[in-house]
């Protein structure tokens, strides 16, 4: 009899320990995990000197390259400190970021596919459309360049050389800005991609695509920033750079509050103004120099028609 009680007791203790562990943790973490946005904003309001905006969260839909290079991790805290807004960075491909804008799910968009962005500005989805910065795309491939891309006279010839060699090309295939640019280049070169065995779509981000291209010793189109971040880890060399058509231009726009009443118009506007302000532009130009010996992005907000971009070839291609 005594033994039965002891057995029951031990089982009860074990169960109790488990439930206390589970619910103790539940009670303990409740505050930090599931705190309502309101009380959170009030809490930090008390600490921060600047006035707390009415709606604090700003959803920024952007391309992966601005996050993967670390640019946003560098700029966003500065913006948050200056204005009291809280930026939720959702880093997806440019295609998805624009789609989020079209559905009013984001407040501000930072993307790099001007030809896909223009329709949004024209149909009133986006307003306050501003040029922010640029860098460039590059074609990379095996260092010994079996497709002889380096010998090509122009960009079209370079793309044709890759296609003709059948050496392999890895595409992002994810409707990102880079993917859109790549498709435009194939189209301009008159290459039909349908059913081509040498052409593969990775369906992943730029970094992953570079790794796949590296494993297969294939060619790919990449933005320079991601390539620099990966340079030490891969055995791929630049085979084509500096063409005007390889420019990678970043624009910011706020999602139109007249069309989507739920967006945080004030916060979005503040973020746009922040990105194009002279101080931020200076920071963008300095970003990455300490790590890579060259800037990853060139600020260009002063000229909204993008004329500063003409000299890009020589500026971007400068020795690392």
């Amino acid at each position: 009899m005594f033994r039965t009680i002891a057995v029951k007791h031990r089982w009860a203790v074990a169960a109790l320990v488990l439930w206390v562990a589970v619910f103790g943790a539940l009670a303990g973490c409740g505050k930090s995990t599931l705190q309502s946005p309101l009380s959170e904003s009030q809490a930090s309001h008390a600490e921060s000197p600047q006035p707390t905006p009415a709606v604090r969260d700003v959803v920024l839909a952007t391309t992966t390259s601005t996050q993967d290079t670390g640019l946003l991790d560098y700029l966003v805290p500065i913006f948050e400190k200056q204005t009291g807004y809280k930026v939720k960075v959702v880093a997806v491909g440019t295609g998805q970021a624009l789609e989020m804008g079209k559905r009013g799910e984001a407040d501000v968009l930072l993307t790099h596919a001007p030809s896909s962005e223009k329709p949004l500005v024209e149909d009133g989805t986006g307003t306050n459309y501003r040029l922010v910065m640029y860098n460039d795309f590059i074609l990379v491939g095996p260092p010994n360049d079996p497709a002889k891309v380096k010998e090509a006279q122009d960009l079209k010839a370079a793309m044709k050389a890759i296609a003709a060699s059948g050496m392999g090309f890895v595409s992002r295939g994810d409707d990102s800005g880079t993917h859109k640019k790549e498709l435009a280049l194939w189209k301009a070169a008159g290459v039909d991609l349908r059913g081509q065995a040498w052409y593969t779509e990775s369906g992943t981000g730029m970094g992953q695509t570079l790794l796949i291209a590296n494993e297969r010793q294939a060619y790919t189109l990449t933005d320079r920033g991601t390539y620099l971040a990966y340079k030490d880890k891969i055995d791929l060399a630049i085979v084509r750079e500096g063409d005007k058509d390889l420019l990678n231009i970043y624009h910011v726009m706020q999602v139109n509050p007249e069309k989507y009443p739920k967006v945080n118009a004030e916060g979005a506007k503040a973020f746009v103004e922040f990105l194009v302000s002279p101080e931020t532009q200076k920071l963008i130009g300095e970003f990455g120099v300490d790590k890579y010996g060259q800037p990853l992005f060139f600020p260009d907000a002063k000229d909204e028609r993008g004329e500063g971009v003409k000299s890009c070839g020589s500026r971007v291609v400068g020795t690392p």
Binding site: A91, R103, G205, G207
Partner: protein, 232 residues
């Protein structure tokens, strides 16, 4: 191989330096797992016992649904939860998208079927084993429930271990409904995805060690508990 060794060294260095960001990510993952498991248990234990013990119309259909639910693809759940929580979705005004709460909701949907199905199976088995015992004794409902829960304690712990494994390793749904937002919804798994896409394999490795350690520690604790109980 070079990458593995340099990655390992760097990972150890990062762990020793106790990077506050990684520590915060670790805490968030643990909190999300505990919340999701706690809520799943609250739903799954009573529902599982009910489905295992009580015979009613539609029981078979419900059991099949929960059994099938054990294999729910996380990305599908993530997409559906996101459709509801998006700003312009039916629950948009709750402002839950891109918050830890959204991740907890998705994980609860993923974990509850596991708990329900495993508890129901255990309860049905226990009922059969205890049947004659109950007939001879003539017990009250409270004693019945107590003895039944006592009987299924081992499978229940196994269900909790399975549920924890699912929540802590899940990345697809957490990515879609959480958005992998720095300092808010970045979990151990989504952080690994990000560090890999950044090319920071050392950090990715360091975080993966933390994830493994957390997963191992909790599973070992639960298994220990299970053994203790079994020895009784």
């Amino acid at each position: 191989m070079d990458l593995v060794w340099s990655g390992l060294r760097e990972a150890v260095r990062i762990l020793l330096a106790r990077d506050p960001e990684i520590v915060a990510i670790f805490g968030l993952s643990l909190r999300i797992a505990v919340w999701a498991l706690g809520i799943s248990l609250l739903i799954g234990l009573p529902l599982g016992v009910l489905l295992g013990v009580v015979h009613f119309r539609g029981r078979g259909v419900l059991l099949s649904i929960f059994n099938a639910g054990m294999g729910l693809p996380p990305t599908v759940v993530g997409l559906w939860v996101a459709l509801f929580l998006w700003r312009n979705g039916p629950l948009g005004d709750l402002h839950l998208i891109y918050t830890p709460a959204a991740i907890v909701i998705a994980e609860v949907i993923l974990t509850t079927p596991i708990l329900v199905a495993l508890v129901a199976a255990a309860a049905a088995g226990a009922k059969e084993r205890l049947h004659e015992f109950f007939l001879s004794l003539g017990t009250t409902p409270a004693t019945y429930l107590y003895l039944l829960l006592r009987e299924i304690r081992l499978p229940l712990l196994a269900a909790v271990i399975a549920g924890f494994g699912r929540v802590i390793s899940e990345v697809g749904a957490a990515m879609i409904v959480g958005g992998n937002i720095r300092g808010e919804t970045r979990t151990l798994t989504t952080a690994i995805v990000l560090e890999v896409s950044k090319g920071a394999f050392d950090r990715a490795l360091a975080i993966s060690f933390l994830l493994l350690a957390l997963s191992f520690a909790v599973t070992a604790f639960l298994t220990h508990l299970q053994h203790r109980v079994r020895e009784d």
